[in-house]
Symmetry: C2
């Protein structure tokens, strides 16, 4: 008798994006003449950089010729890409060896799959509001999940509480959905907490390319001793627009160790290598070449131009909300604006008002957790034209 | 205190391919003038089909232009590819709806990840010898694994034993590593066993494109009622040479249900959808277009030509071993020849002799399980030239 995994019963059905689609469709059916602008989705819209396209064509040609054809590659990624990633980190003073880098099909897969190497008895600490993957993947394994509040009072960047005993902590900076960031000093406090508790920090830096200036760290490994307690996830989705091209990576420090419940000391880098070689077969060769190209000098320049475009969108949005006197968070080091619904409105009420009066679609903050109630997530990933038009409408409606 | 997953301690270190590399390197160092031919590895060598290359270029161009750029796609795959897969199955009389098909980065990932939707208390039944992924991924979750013997006596295609109570059964046909196949009647017996025991069959058909003639089924869903007890894995790796391009798929029948240990009835199709949307972000758009192209009329014709090439290699190998009077299995519906080591030699002894006397590298059967002892796996994926030369050497050495 095969039994299904009963922990799936504990998952909440996520009606968020279905419900958004339903409300938008209902509105459009009643008002077919209106032009709807969607600013709620965390997906890029600019095409891949010219250098990346050029290299993709070249790699495709290699796959069509026997002499240069590539079959199975190393599960942990080709050296050429791991070297490019190591160089990218080195530019910011973080030293990684190639065998600390594991190339993957994206940070979402990694954030979920990393749970494979940990015992199911660990207590997981996540923020509220949160990227739902951290929560759901652990519920699926029956793990206990506890929360820390991300609120305006702590700038949506909660700090460790010595009274709370957590085994594994997810941090995301810049954060999805709030756009908040941790400073180096704050991350040092988290590293201190993790070392004191023998905990592990799972650090999601998928949005690091949006960080402005020198103050905010791009990697938790900027903090001394983080290699003793942290695993980092990063992705080409946001830096290089790879949301539909699929490439990410995990950094697992070489000497990172933890015990099993029976007291056996395990090397987590070796465990992740074993996990990947057993349950994964690597990323397409052509995609790895594309990712490498995005980190080249020309590639990075073209990627930064795209990011500058999104950041200018964010500035236009912030200016508009400033004019309306509507408070928001994020938007500076992040493609996300976390809007405080005006007049104490609830998330879905503001969603409906924005849809009806400005024909703009956002994502209700309540979909990301209890503390998301009263907020709405917007993104700067729209086109310039749509972003300007959306903000003109919003200002026309909400400016007092 | 973060604890590591202690079940990893139960994994056997797999020295197989490391040990092969060591022995080959040692031999080459002592005999630098010898030309080594590797016939042990299950990786394709022919380039991607021209139609696939053409479509890849076109899809890459789409990614470089804003109007046709694709970001996040559906986690379960684009409809265009799922429709192409449904059509491919329909040609053989198997009717699939699109929401039964889940596109993935490959059968290896799927065979491992499928375990997520089942309780850890299930007893898994696998063959010996076996593709190690079935074993290791379940050891990682602490599941009990029991074996059925695949031996010359049962043509390496063991049948159900009513006395054995298994909850989940892995079947692979054509089999890696033995090249054995199940007939429709045999699969019907397995379906009968599964239905009687409320078990689930995980059916790996990654090598189905090598099946000759009409007698051997390409899919377990050729068997009536299999949709009530089976999940099938397939891949573009072998049919279209996608080992380095990465695309596969899982078929989970729409109405397939099993209970949790608490008696709650769960739909496994919905569970897998939930698993994939939570822990996966889809396959690159360009790769999905390439996979679609490989199943087009021209694509399939070009793919069959490549498979015919490998099958001709297999015929050359079988002829050579026939001349030597060395017994083998597989080779007909499969790229694998499962060689019975002559003179009762052990796997590693025959490996050494083949390396030293014919300079040919195989894979010792003992690496796939206890019953693999005394066998050696060879593949027909080499070049024609190398295959001919390897067999000439083998015949020269072993012909009596």
């Amino acid at each position: 008798m095969a039994y299904a995994n009963g922990y799936y019963c504990n998952l909440k059905e996520t009606y968020l994006f279905t419900e958004i689609a339903n409300r938008v469709n209902t509105y459009v059916a009643a008002h077919p003449e209106k032009k709807i602008i969607r600013l709620g989705i965390g997906d890029v819209t600019l095409p891949l950089a010219p250098v990346v396209i050029e290299v993709l064509h070249k790699a495709v040609d290699e796959m069509g010729v026997k002499e240069t054809f590539r079959g199975y590659g190393p599960e942990q990624g080709y050296d050429f890409l791991r070297q490019a990633i190591a160089n990218y980190y080195a530019q910011r003073g973080v030293d990684l060896s190639l065998d600390e880098i594991f190339v993957s099909d994206g940070a979402k897969s990694d954030c979920g799959n990393i749970g494979d190497i940990f015992a199911d008895t660990n207590v997981m600490l996540i923020q509220d509001p949160v990227y739902p993957v951290y929560l759901d993947t652990n519920i699926m394994r029956g793990r206990k999940v506890i929360y820390m509040n991300a609120t305006p009072e702590n700038n949506f960047a909660p700090m460790p509480d010595k009274k709370v005993k957590a085994d594994i902590i997810y941090l995301c900076s810049p954060s999805n959905p709030t756009g908040s960031v941790y400073t180096k000093e704050q991350l040092a406090k988290w590293v201190e907490y993790a070392l004191e508790n023998n905990a592990i920090i799972l650090y999601d830096s998928a949005y690091e390319a949006f960080i402005d200036g020198e103050e905010i760290p791009h990697s938790i490994f900027s903090v001394p001793d983080a290699k003793k307690c942290a695993i980092e996830f990063n992705s080409f989705s946001k830096i290089a627009g790879f949301t539909g091209t699929r490439c990410g990576y995990v950094v697992v420090p070489k000497n990172l160790e933890r015990q099993t419940e029976n007291g056996k000391v395990m090397n987590l880098n070796s465990m992740w290598l074993r996990r990947q070689t057993t349950k994964f077969n690597g990323v397409p060769y052509i995609v790895q070449r594309a990712a490498e190209a995005s980190l080249s000098k020309d590639g990075l320049q073209q990627c930064w131009e795209n990011i500058a475009y999104y950041k200018e969108n964010a500035r236009i949005m912030m200016k508009g909300f400033d004019e309306c006197g509507i408070k928001y968070y994020g938007g500076v080091h992040s493609p996300y604006l976390w809007i405080q619904c005006p007049g104490g409105m609830k998330s879905w009420d503001f969603f409906d008002e924005l849809l009806a009066k400005a024909n703009v679609v956002g994502t209700p903050g309540s979909g990301f957790g209890v503390n998301g109630e009263g907020f709405l997530r917007l993104t700067s990933f729209g086109s310039r034209e749509n972003t300007i038009e959306a903000m003109e409408r919003i200002v026309a409606v909400f400016k007092k």
